[in-house]
Symmetry: none
Subunit: 144 residues, 4 copies
């Protein structure tokens, strides 16, 4: 069928080995700086791949960490880069899933976004540092 | 029983052929301008008629596109025409379904609103241009 | 880092061109046999790629069609092949998402499951025939 | 104040180190037997402590694995020991959270139940074997 666009494309995916290496690195970094957090890692469609709640982390921050991970995976950017002027509108219209809260970073290899990581429960700076430690552990991009 | 108001009225409805023609035109326009989006088309009751998520579109924008389509179908106006001073209240009270985000347009024939279209993932201008391309494809109004 | 398992793997994905070709073929087949249906196509993580509700289709069958598509994508098999003896337990424990209702088929290329299609509103046989017409349109497997 | 019952009691809790050791052991066992699964570990209140979805695991089984973990933590017994004659009623009344599906085991130390583990996506026997491997890794009870 000449002229018909292809029904299939090839794309990279994060393995469970990669996701668990990210969890391990995030927890190790969080322990080193004394900042207990929740870590959520999602795939390129926003579905959970791995999560961990550390001793002392705020349990409601599991949900905000997941929203951060999903936002970064969907929008392929750090959560604070969601446009300021429409952040509230996006949050409402997505039933809270799109967030501007710091702590969400996309997982990017060779320019391809293959998921997102969200950290929640500590300060903005600590959340971001922990997320970057996880990304560095698998050789993903850490600057955006 | 003269004097009793009629129990039935006639109203135009969008066919699935019309909804799929809109999807096709929206996707073609989005491909032409290089802006991958989600397209959601709802009927006059706000229920899904058709949707498409393009390669590279933000998956969380499926939800915002649906809110845009529902808002336009319900309020029979482009989403940015929701009153600014009560937008947050409307969003809360509708569980996020009423949105002021650009990209939602009513589907209007001969002055009758028969549904709504919502586009999400690109810039405001691109979202609106893609929605108008879909409306033009079936001869619906494109100015409001 | 010798010995560390890879963080990335490559996998095929369904394009929006492929998903829309499936929608078109499903609707054409449904029109030909006079069986209006809902069609839902999801990706390999169960997230919507495309959907259509035909004139006369049951609107609540949008939801059952989505559950069928998600079940087939997740379990990589036709929905009736969910084990009979635990079907009710699976439905409960997945909050209704895992279903044994006929009309859900996996989208399989070269042995890789890249999503699922669910058809809902007609008879079991018609739902399955429509799903197979959609799979055939893109050259995906039609026997399981 | 003699006679007044104590307001505080001491109870053992699973640490995040313990939960992650369980995840690691479960994944290692699943890899060894070639059975990709979802693993969910919850605390004594049924709230997520850690989870992992392996490459090739059924994504809808994340939800059933969570229901298994919650049922075992709540009822302090393996999921198949939920009474057969009231299983459906329990599932309805708990919104699907109480399940009789095999693959859920309580995490018990010195007779204290401190959480639950749920495994989903493989056969009943494999799910249970993987759960037991996780329990053995931290010295928890493996017979009930």
């Amino acid at each position: 069928m000449s002229g018909q666009p292809p029904a299939i494309r090839s794309a990279p995916k994060l393995t469970h080995a990669g996701a668990l290496a990210m969890i391990g690195a995030a927890v190790a970094h969080a322990e080193a700086i004394g900042a207990p957090v929740n870590v959520v890692i999602v795939d390129e469609s926003g579905v959970d791949l791995a999560m961990a709640r550390m001793d002392g982390a705020k349990f409601l921050s599991i949900e905000t960490a997941r929203s951060k991970a999903q936002t970064s995976a969907s929008h392929r950017r750090p959560t604070p880069k969601i446009p300021q002027d429409i952040a509230a509108g996006l949050a409402f219209a997505s039933h809270g899933r799109i967030t501007q809260m710091a702590g969400g970073l996309p997982i990017v290899f060779d320019g391809h976004c293959i998921g997102g990581i969200g950290i929640g429960s500590a300060s903005d700076d600590d959340d971001v540092a922990i997320a970057k430690a996880a990304l560095a552990a698998i050789g993903a991009a850490t600057e955006f």
